[in-house]
């Protein structure tokens, strides 16, 4: 095992030059003074705060990218992607939500108590009503949570060891767990745990796969898959009927430049961008303001250990590759300093492990080179596959290619569409690749994403990762630990152990650039986001009176 605690020396000039050329060709550039770390917050934890002096009401047009999918179905319980969570979150609400500091705060539950480590007693806001006018009941809450737990969906695994869910009063629901589970409230704070109109679901008058009916601030007027959504303010929403954004036109626009153009010319009031180039390209666009919201989401590289005869079956070779990958260089060169390195636990979440302490960050490039030579892997050519729908993946791949060349490993980059990528990485057994790039949603609790390092829990990574009992025990311990100090220790061990196995290697955070026309819209935007919810604070948005 390669564990040499030496300061790593990095020669990134060649890589920087190559990426610089790529950046010239693809127009990426270093933003001036708009770095995620350099941005001025409008208030602690917020990149923008809506101006309460504005009292207009009207329509807002938002253009979003396609992302991994526009919205995968209409049933929130089975929604897998952040884009789905955002869109469905306009219609549905959850018991609790997360604030700008990733603290859990009330939503449909006005309060909760925790009499012991495994019991949660929620007081439900029974003044809330669904958009059909029916009042929310505790049965809706019990039924919704039970439906999620029973669904065997991806999110049911995040709900933890739920033992029972029962109504214990007219406005009280009690959830009991079989063992302590620290991220339970965080799991309840995301759209898949939304409270559904279970009465209508159970009597068959509502099909959740075709109709959206929630207690949230908006209702769906129209939807054309992959093209557009139109939402109207829900007059029955418990937060009041005075929302500034009365009509929300949501347009799915795949091309980044087209969304920029819409923001420039005023045909969209708000748009999101995946490329940090938007920070500079829109810097001189009149009233347009652009911010870089730090996501807990992060990019990773899969190092396939499951192909018979591959040099990557050797843990030392994988660790050497991990050592050669310079996360900070990726953040600095590919993302022009607008991102930051992370370990298994997203580094912007409270209690996350320190990236600098990872064994691969402590080891040196010379040792990595030596391991590659000694193992006979020198001169090896590895196929790295990426998907084309997120152009920055290609740029990361180029830099990793340069970095691995420094230890004598040649990387052949292959780019595919998403379906081909998924088939080769996740469906093929073993995975049909050596290295692959992807990204994980980071969620709002640092232990949640760590489950994806356990193939017995995750399932999708069986084709490229092995089962490691010590790592799995740490993953379980990380979720169970409720004492902050104990948790920090466990998560640090977890990060280090996963780093040594080097099968899924975290890289840097995935930026989310949000642009808005400040003449038409005064939004509230958090500095950090865990569930990729671009509409998290839409009910706080303000519009100038002129837009009425």
């Amino acid at each position: 095992m390669l564990k040499l605690p030496r300061k790593r020396a990095r020669v990134a000039s060649g890589a920087a030059l190559a990426l610089g050329l790529a950046c010239v060709l693809s127009s990426c550039a270093a933003p001036s003074g708009t770095g995620a770390g350099e941005q001025e917050e409008a208030a602690p934890g917020f990149l923008a705060v809506a101006d309460d002096a504005l009292d207009g009401q009207g329509a807002l047009t938002v253009q979003l990218d396609y992302d991994t999918s526009e919205a995968d179905g209409l049933d929130p319980a089975t929604a897998q992607t952040a884009r789905s969570w955002s869109i469905m979150g306009l219609v549905y609400e959850t018991l609790v939500t997360a604030d700008e500091n990733f603290e859990i705060t009330p939503e449909l539950a006005t309060s909760w108590e925790q009499p012991d480590d495994t019991t949660y007693v929620f007081t439900i806001d029974t003044t809330a009503t669904f958009s059909n006018g029916r009042a929310l009941t505790v049965d809706d809450v019990v039924g919704s949570l039970q439906r999620q737990v029973d669904s065997m969906s991806v999110w049911s695994g995040q709900m933890g060891p739920v033992e029972s869910i029962e109504a214990t009063g007219d406005d009280q629901v009690t959830v009991r767990l079989s063992s302590p589970y620290a991220p339970f409230l965080a799991a309840l704070a995301n759209t898949p745990a939304a409270i559904l109109p279970m009465q209508e679901v159970e009597d068959g008058s509502l099909d959740l796969t075709t109709t959206m009916l929630g207690t949230g601030p908006y209702t769906v007027d129209a939807h054309r898959q992959d093209e557009s959504w139109t939402f109207s303010a829900n007059p029955n929403w418990r937060g009041g009927d005075d929302l500034a954004v009365q009509t929300l036109e949501l347009q799915i626009v795949d091309q980044e430049t087209t969304r920029q153009a819409a923001l420039r010319e005023g045909s969209a009031g708000l748009a999101n961008f995946g490329s940090i180039d938007a920070l500079t390209q829109l810097a001189d666009a009149g009233d347009v303001r652009v911010v870089n919201q730090t996501q807990s989401d992060f990019y990773y590289v899969n190092v396939n250990s499951q192909v018979e005869g591959s040099p990557l079956q050797d843990q030392d070779v994988r660790f050497a590759i991990n050592t050669a990958i310079d996360r900070q260089a990726i953040a600095d060169i590919v993302f022009a300093g607008e991102s930051a390195p992370t370990g298994v636990t997203p580094s912007n979440l409270p209690g996350a492990c320190a990236v600098d302490a990872l064994p691969s960050e402590q080891a040196s490039l010379d040792d990595a080179r030596q391991v590659i030579e000694d193992s006979g892997a020198a001169g090896t050519t590895l196929d790295m596959i990426v998907y084309t729908s997120e152009p920055v993946m290609g740029q990361i791949a180029q830099l990793v290619q340069q970095q691995l060349a420094e230890i004598g490993v040649t990387v052949n980059i292959e780019q595919f569409d998403t379906a081909t990528y998924n088939a080769r990485v996740f469906t093929a057994q073993p995975g049909d690749f050596d290295l692959s790039l992807g990204w994980f949603a980071g969620y709002v609790d640092p232990s949640m994403v760590t489950k994806w390092w356990n193939p017995e829990q995750a399932g999708f990574n069986v084709g490229f990762t092995g089962v490691h009992e010590d790592l799995n025990e740490l993953i379980t311990a990380g979720a169970e630990a409720t004492d902050p100090d104990e948790r920090a220790t466990v998560l640090a061990d977890l990060c280090a152990t996963a780093d040594e196995y080097s099968e899924i290697v975290p890289l840097v955070h995935r930026p989310s650039i949000i642009g808005y026309d400040s003449a038409e819209l005064s939004p509230t935007i958090q500095s950090n986001e865990g569930y990729g919810d671009i509409f998290r604070d839409i009910t706080a948005y303000r519009l100038p009176a002129a837009s009425e």
Partner: protein, 323 residues
Amino acid sequence: MLQQLRWSAGRVVSALITLLGVSILIFAAVRLMPGSYEDIILGPLASPEERAALAAAYGLDRPLVLQYFSWIGQIFSGDLGTSFVTQTPVAVELGARIPVTALLTVVALVITVAVGIPLGVWTGVRSGAKQGGAIGRVVSGLGISVPEFVLGSVVVFVFSRLALGIQVGGFSQVGAGFGPTVQALLLPAIVLSVFCVAASARTTRDAVMNVLVEPHIAAAVARGETPWHIVRHHVMRNAGIPILTLLATITAYLLGGAVIVETIFNIPGLGSFMVTGLDRRDFAVVQASVLFAATVFIVVSLVLDLITSALDPRVAVTGKAGS
């Protein structure tokens, strides 16, 4: 006459065989591509059992031959299938998108005919002069060599940055009335027509130049006819067939879906529909869209052949138009 009828029947049979070949090719191609609908819609987190269940639900686990004949049977009964993603009949989806693409095609064609043909005639007539030849070469060279994705991206950037008052980045609400529709389609149609203008200008110029050296033109000049009269009555009539052939080909090509331009300008037309369907492995959408585009192309070519043979019977005998 009998020979011409036999030739026309042969062209129709040939067109039908081509369509059958296209249907087999597209059916096989989408299924040979790595990745499937399950990989997209269920995502990476789904279990093998979930994938298998979804494949069975859509009949994707049946033998390919059975799937093909089932699809062809549906086509003959007027059913283009149902989109996996939207759960809407593909015919309905196509019905919403074909008018958009058709409108875009019409606007692009109007620009092509209004600019390309007069330019071609002018440069053809002035082919001996330095000015005309140079302009013709520059325009057609530039127009043909600049890719649509480059031109489209530049146009989007320039028009949005300089705020020239023409909608570029907005969602194209085609069908929202004449004004907004034309505004939404103007820039994409201009981008789309640049290649067509260049190609039609070059073809027209060559056709005009070929006609100008014919003896009957010299006779017309000798009779003292005016240049405009000669162009209108002698040159354009004789240069018409290659120009019409090109315009028909362009029309068929554009109706098949201007994929790149529709994507850049976010126009919900046939081309972008096809690309989205391909990305999501929505087989019914891709198969129906490609078959529609191929049918348009083949039918337009067939009609053009039949018209050409009617105008010039030598086509049916020799297989090519006389000069």
